[in-house]
Amino acid sequence: MTDALTIRRNGDTFLTLSPDGTATGYNGHVDLGTGLQTALAQIVAEELDLPLSAVRIVLGDTARTPDQGPTIASESIQITAVPLRAAAAQARHWLARAGALRLNAPLADISTQDGHVIWQDQRISYAALLAGRAEVLPLDDAAPLKDPANYTLVGHKAGRTDLPAKLTGDFDYIHDIRLPGMLHGHVIRPPYAGRDSGDFIGRSLISFDDSAIAALPGFVAVVRQADFLAVVATKAHLARQMAEALPVQWHRPPDLPDLSDPVAAIKDHPSSPRVLDTTGDIRAGLADCSPRLDRRYVWPWHMHASIGPSCAVADWNGGAPIVWSGTQNPHMLRGDLATLTGLAPEVIEVRRHQAAGCYGRNCADDVAGDALLLTRALGQRVRVQLTRAQENLWEPKGAAQVMEVSGGVNAAGDFHAYAFDSWYPSNRGPNLALLLTGAISPEPRPSDMGDRTIVPPYRIAHKRITVHDMAPIVRAAWLRGVSALPNTFAHESFVDELAAQAQEDPVAFRLRHLDDPRQADLVRRTAQAAAWQTRTQPTLRRKGRMAYGQGFAYATYVHGAFPGTAAASAAWVVDVAVDMETGEVTLSRVFVGQDQGLAINPDHVRQQIHGNVIQTASRALQESVSFDQITVTDQSWATYPLATFPQTPQIETMLVARPDDPPLGVGESAGVPAAAAIANAIFDATGVRMREVPFTPERMRDALGIQPRQSAPLALPGRRKRKTLLATTLGLTAALGLGALSFPLARAIPKTTAPAAANFSAETLTRGETLFALGNCASCHTAPDGAPNAGGRAIDTPFGTVHSTNLTPDPDTGLGTWSFAAFARAMRAGISRDGHNLYPAFPYTSFAGMAEDDLFALYAHLQTLPAVAQPTPKAQMSVPRPALAAWNALFHRPQSLAPDPAQGADWNRGRYLVETVGHCSECHTPRTALGAQAKTPLSGAMVRDWFAPALAGPDAQLRGTDDIAAYLSTGVAPGRAAASGPMAEVIAGLSTLPDGDITAMATYLASLPTDAPAPLPEQAATIPDRIDRIFANACASCHEAALPDLLTAAQIPLTRAPAIRAPSPAAAQATIRDGLRAPTGTALRDMPAFGADLAEADILALARYLRARYAPDLPGWD
């Protein structure tokens, strides 16, 4: 449909009207999830007198919208909507004139309403006036605007236009773009995650070996350009698997400065001062202060922390690329992509789709560069989805910031002098693809964005305001509030300190120094509406262990190049509660007064206030990025926790009604006072002044002098364990060494051809198969990813490594030439056919008690397995095989189990299965230093990194025939026990067992526990700290599930987890590190592996935490 009316300037279209009377507005900004699209539609519909449903808004699309710069600084409504609004007003005037002509009416008497031109009782629709027209008008910025008094849409309720599709899954986020023929790229980032300057950038990739993956189904290509590396495959999951399997070698990056001390790191970093405001004589002014206060305020690195990792799709399109992106800045991105490819910007089209909220410069632009490099290399469309870890590690962070202040009041109590210096190591985040490929040099690039809200709003006689521009230390770019947030933290904390010093109410002190009546009005009205409690010193209100306080702060968000443009102003009154035992700070109520001039959509303005409060409070209370010596370490929410629902304060808002004033940006203003308001409230509650964000419980405990919990020493057990093992090995060798030779070695049993399968009865074979499953033979006798039952699995023992043997009937490497006699001897005496002793990792000590016909059935089954030729690797053991004969003489009593006449048939059958072929004692009975089973059978033991819990005696947790039978047949006794690790594999084998055998084993096992079961402890209280937060954010969703029927939750409470009740943390560590995988045929569930996400020290600390919290009745692992 050709447009009937187009309003343009310099080739940019701002508004079109269709012949059907509907309007389309064009704006170069994008909707970051704030409702901009709806608000712009309201503005256009209002000026055009159209219903909201007749207006469509096209945002950020390089082929269609004007270049209005990045969607930053809360300027979309305040600045970039201005020409759109003018265009709409201009179009309404055009329609009115056209209507006047058509109706032959005086223009002055014409009105417009609901898509119609009206004169007296005559109405003519816009559509009728537009039919057949094709007008193009130059934009008239001076078109008279509607009187706000007549607004019916602007300033009123209007639902989000994008919400209905989002509710049903019909909305196309950037992640949902699927194009025909699209391939999938998975990037492999260098080890210098989150860094952007230094010679090593773009020059660290040594080599990779694509032969490791090139033959896999779905492989397309490995694409490399300098340090840019990616695998492309036909499917996303394959691309990821291949990327993770690709051997890549990188140079080790140089160390970072120690960023756990941001002050030293930032102040040691090159910077250049820019003096922005000098009023009066700062030297003299400072000299007159009584007293002069010198303060330093510190802000940490923060993440944007988008909930959806960035994604992009690109189509090379024969050299005129189209890029689908979630960018904040389509035109700026297009410029970067032009630099990346050498193409002219006009050739590239960026189509913007909504992404997860970004709140600033995250990886959205970077991943667009990735996708474009890949589509250029392959000529096909490529989608790239970053992982959570890639997003968190590489996103340009919100920069740390150091603010130093000197100043004070004079003898009259007036704010007299203020010297302010701010260091802000950030820039605009050069596109990562440009850096990795070397398309731009990795030189330090300072920027000038540290000057947002850098001048406090108060009347101060002597001022010197200086920003120290500096390049980032780690990748950093704008994040909501940019430098205004830290600068305001300093200004508004310091003002609070001055008021306390002067023993004056903090609000009264501010008002006394505010000259702007509109600003003063906001402060006064907010304090009044929020029931601000006047005070001249901290109130220190206590009730039990809680201290309560109220804080005030206020700021105008000033954005753009200094002196910048003022967006909305916001004032906070916040009520906090401080737990004086744990140091936790809780926000109980936040009251925000805001002056944004005309509010286009008051509901959505309030939503922005709510969002700013919650997000900024999260940043102020709990967020800070961690680093090791090379890189960012926070890969997930485990170590970078975001505020959750229970932490959400009650939020009250007051919008100052100023419909006659121009609308001011509301995207960031409400958050700017947050940190200072909270710090001031903490001061009011406790008398303690917090000058470094975040105000974590640890920092609060330090500040309040609360004794922190004893911290656990790290990294000792490994060394201690090795020493113990070494001593045991030496002991065993010494004990057996002398006597070894006096025992004769066993003779070989001659080779025979094994009988063919047809020689065995079906009944025998079925029985053999069942025994094979019950004995879980396949588990040990199959190597990881190896042929079934062909052996080769390495079994680590305290005495070295032995490999399982080939059980298949291959004549050279398996049992194909074994007679039954040879097999029976091996099973009963631990002697191989050729006469050499088998290491007791092979549980012949249990098998010895098997009945002869069971051994025969098992032998028969083995001879029917598919033959696999696979030799067994040589054992690497510290104990020589001949010594085993001595060990057998000492510890092995080969005898059949005689039935106990006092017990029933089930019990006896169960005992036989458990004690012989089931070989349960191999794991569940502790061993002596010499590797023999201790005299406390089935009383629980560590087996390498796993704990086999007690089945007998007072410590047995799983009791009762029904629970045990359920556990044996499915792996789960609901709520009481769930198999994990090697036991899960055992259960998988048991699942083929006849019910009668399961019942029998359960009957026997249920008879073993003695005494009343010890009641399991309640979980112990925890102290909020880093590890407690890791548990809350990485573990609790499954282990303290919020909904009782969560299908992916853990099946038993951690108080019942054997790994946590084990003698050592090894099993808990292994479970956290490697996760759990439910074997087929069980009712078990998976657990994700955290080995890549958490540092080993954190995993150990987490294991200790779990022990202390969930097994407080047992000795700690500290």
Partner: protein, 187 residues
């Protein structure tokens, strides 16, 4: 290793020829082109991927396809009335109270609310906060989401026939039939 994996998705039986170790989230998004469940963290930390499995909430990013075999999966796309297209009361509650900003977490909020209201039809605000404590929203839409859950509870009680239910295969229209044609892994 690829094999046939049978699921019922939004009432429609589907058989995928895939590696059954892939996550359910991956299968729903990449094989069935469903957009409701979202990839957020891959480690059950954020809740954006939540679906219902036989009516119970599940974090699809940590659930292997093999463990969902034969089960009935309901995604955001399967909540609205298949015949009339009318929003489910939980969806309507989130529309009425505008329980989203960017909306990326919205799927998890809605599916978790669905599961909450199935057990607790009239939750207190504390119960709502508690039930959603492992669902992350970075925009800070918590205030509106809590209001949405309350609104949804009211709507559900007003329309008892709309109580949360497990999708039964026989009563559902084949919403995703066309999406089966490209489902499968390379051999």
């Amino acid at each position: 290793m690829t094999r046939d994996l049978a699921l019922v998705v939004n009432g429609q039986p589907v058989t995928l020829h895939v590696d059954a170790d892939r996550t359910l989230l991956d299968l729903l998004r990449d094989e069935l082109s469903l957009n409701g469940p979202k990839y957020g963290c891959g480690m059950a930390q954020c809740g954006a991927c939540t679906v219902l499995v036989d009516g119970a909430p599940a974090r699809a990013c940590v659930l292997r396809g093999a463990l969902a075999e034969g089960r009935s999966i309901t995604t955001l796309e399967g909540l609205a009335d298949p015949d009339t297209g009318a929003l489910h009361p939980v969806q309507q509650g989130f529309l009425d109270a505008e329980g989203a900003q960017c909306g990326y977490c919205l799927n998890g909020m809605i599916m978790t609310t669905h599961a909450l209201l199935a057990r607790t039809p009239d939750p207190t605000e504390d119960q709502i906060r508690d039930a959603l404590r492992h669902n992350l929203c970075r925009c800070g839409a918590q205030v509106e989401i809590i209001a949405s859950v309350k609104r949804a509870a009211t709507l559900m009680q007003a329309t008892p026939t709309q109580a949360p239910k497990v999708h039964a295969p026989q009563i559902q229209a084949p919403r995703i039939q066309a999406r089966q044609v490209h489902a499968g892994d390379p051999e």
